[in-house]
Symmetry: C3
Subunit: 319 residues, 3 copies
Amino acid sequence: MKKFTGVSDVENLQEIIKKALQIKKDPLSETEKGKGKTIGLVFLNSSLRTRLSSQIAAQNLGLNVLTLNAAQEAWNLEFADGAIMNGDTVEHIKDAIEVLNQYCDIIAVRCFAGMKSKEDDVNESILSQFEKHAKVPVISLESATRHPLQSLADCITITENWTEERKPKVVLTWAPHIKPIAHAVGNSFAEWMQEMEVDFVIANPAGYDLDRNFTKDVEVIHDQEEALKDADFIYVKNWSSFDEYAAMPEVKDSWMLTNEKLSVTNNAKVMHCLPVRRNVELSDEVMDGKNSIIYEQAKNRIFSAQAVFSEILDGLDSQ
Amino acid sequence: MKKFTGVSDVENLQEIIKKALQIKKDPLSETEKGKGKTIGLVFLNSSLRTRLSSQIAAQNLGLNVLTLNAAQEAWNLEFADGAIMNGDTVEHIKDAIEVLNQYCDIIAVRCFAGMKSKEDDVNESILSQFEKHAKVPVISLESATRHPLQSLADCITITENWTEERKPKVVLTWAPHIKPIAHAVGNSFAEWMQEMEVDFVIANPAGYDLDRNFTKDVEVIHDQEEALKDADFIYVKNWSSFDEYAAMPEVKDSWMLTNEKLSVTNNAKVMHCLPVRRNVELSDEVMDGKNSIIYEQAKNRIFSAQAVFSEILDGLDSQ
Amino acid sequence: MKKFTGVSDVENLQEIIKKALQIKKDPLSETEKGKGKTIGLVFLNSSLRTRLSSQIAAQNLGLNVLTLNAAQEAWNLEFADGAIMNGDTVEHIKDAIEVLNQYCDIIAVRCFAGMKSKEDDVNESILSQFEKHAKVPVISLESATRHPLQSLADCITITENWTEERKPKVVLTWAPHIKPIAHAVGNSFAEWMQEMEVDFVIANPAGYDLDRNFTKDVEVIHDQEEALKDADFIYVKNWSSFDEYAAMPEVKDSWMLTNEKLSVTNNAKVMHCLPVRRNVELSDEVMDGKNSIIYEQAKNRIFSAQAVFSEILDGLDSQ
């Protein structure tokens, strides 16, 4: 694997899921693989699961880890090409990337959507600079439009939790929030589900349809109860409006996931990428209930990352 | 050892002090013990000694270390059970803990008293969530009411510095400060001294008595000079009022420790957990004088942590 | 080597450059050298290159690394001797250093000039406390007046990029900036160049002469074009006025380095320590052009640090 910023970087999804599940059984089976190599984990935004699971995955592979909280520990970054840097920004992102090229064998970066300019976010104004200037493999730790290590962990989790012959019905359902939230997790989950052997639908209120570049022909239902019917897996996630970018059109119905809503499902497993706003996105009873596989899903972030790092290391060796 | 949040978790205090002193002689005697295991160090508050000594101790045991500065690096945490999270908090502490359960073999946490609600602090509103939700051993890196790794280091330091047959006289003396400071170090030292073979008294101004749940029957003297008489060890520490919670009743006498005050002691060794406000809590001459064992005490934080981590690892293996 | 805060700590400059270049060829040749030893990297200021290159260098030597972002992670530090600490400062720098003595075999510290008091900065008010109180070797990660690990990397870079018999002409040229910037990189480069087999001149506008304690008898030219003539290496760097301390006297000529200005040079290689303000200090075309060796220079920070850490470890063993 030469980079990992989306599902299109995965040659064979079933193979990498299988690999991740093998790693889960024996996380220390490749402790020499990364010896003498360095991964840089660059955080332009907050992180708990991604930060910790990436470190564990790297350590399990024997990689040296350099963690950089760019905003707090380094310099205020400039992102505009050709900028005359006579303002608040001290270092151009492309120079930071070129330096990371010198120091790292792999660069992983978290760069959320700014939620101010639709164009900047859709065009991945930050990740694209990493993809352009990095001379080593780039791994996304969540970018403006995608969160692929999360989505791989989601695929692992669904695979583990499904033993029937038939395809499971998977519903990505919008949830309420109090602030405009990015589309990355929703987009990304939609993309990956289209590569899985599942029946996939999206439920969201009118005005909240995701970008069709990610959802393609997936059915989008504006009635949550209808969408949840017979669901085997429910993925709960908020996002703001894409069409009216970052707006939050009023939603009159209650979209918070509750146990009552689970009653129309096929005893559905509930997923969420975390962090979750309890009693806003979903109720305490769901979060703490027997249908939640959310913590297991968080655990699978380790094996998602480790499978990807391992394949990236294979790609380095084959150069 | 299954957890370490106070002296009651120590089966045999003399044994663990002995173990720590052995580690001090040979810190790298157990470098394989923690191999393949991970300790998460979660800081909800500032830390210098605890942060560094815990990392060294973990490294000496071959443990992987994940350090999380929760406030700066992760998400704003909610602590209230049942909260409708439609405000500033992004992730519930119990979800963060459940995720740490997935990532760590041991969770160590620093969670100071908020000094706003006596009830919250006395009930350990944060640590109690870790004790409730953690599925792996929990180690306190200082909580609202106790600082047990400090207290163990204090016991190690006193043991090292006492060779006479008779019991030493140990005085915990209140010191001035400019802000309301928590009771954790004072409470904790008082608890641990009651388990040691020492004559222990507490000196503090009227209005500053510590919680009797920690000091029990220990003599509390409101006259510093009287208390210091014939002292072999003096432990200097500020705390705010407990009865009138977090208040700072006026103190007319001078309680700053000076060389002059040492003159009534038995050439007492001076201790402080650090950080210390020089020339407020104690004078430069004391801090820099021959009676201070404060830096050695800080060094012993390594061996305190390493002895505890080692026993916790023993507990993991015996499961 | 017993400490490393300036060129005077280097016994033989050509030898250490040679050592660094050997390390560059085989960075993992001494992975056992630092085993069981700990380096503390203390940052009182922002850092990208220094932070990452020091960590890599330490890891390559098998050293344990403790990184402390003092301001964010620990306590607000007091620097004044004899201070009555009844204000905002919580811990005296000398106590922090004494504790680091207990925890580290080597202490490395970044402590920029405050740019408020010329006297404090010239006297290295912070680094001097480390030099005074540290009981283990001290390494500067840039102090008020010098940046020696950068300067050594600069010497390595010039050595690598010069194959002719004659001495190269090296020009340190002032560049514009929007804020008062410290003199450390300029001072330090001037000092180290005087130890190298180069023809060295400094170009800066009137009013911007560096401290003669560092530049000694080096020719200072106030006309940039004249200085750049026939240059083989150009080192671009801003600094504020030294005489009128931290002031920014008006500069009427354009001092930003452009390709046009390179035309009078001997196809000079361009250097900068980074971070750089593009299109203020130098133009995009220079930064991204074929004459720039700036990223290679950044890479050499690893080998500069590793050579120094290695010699410091030699010094520890010989005690």
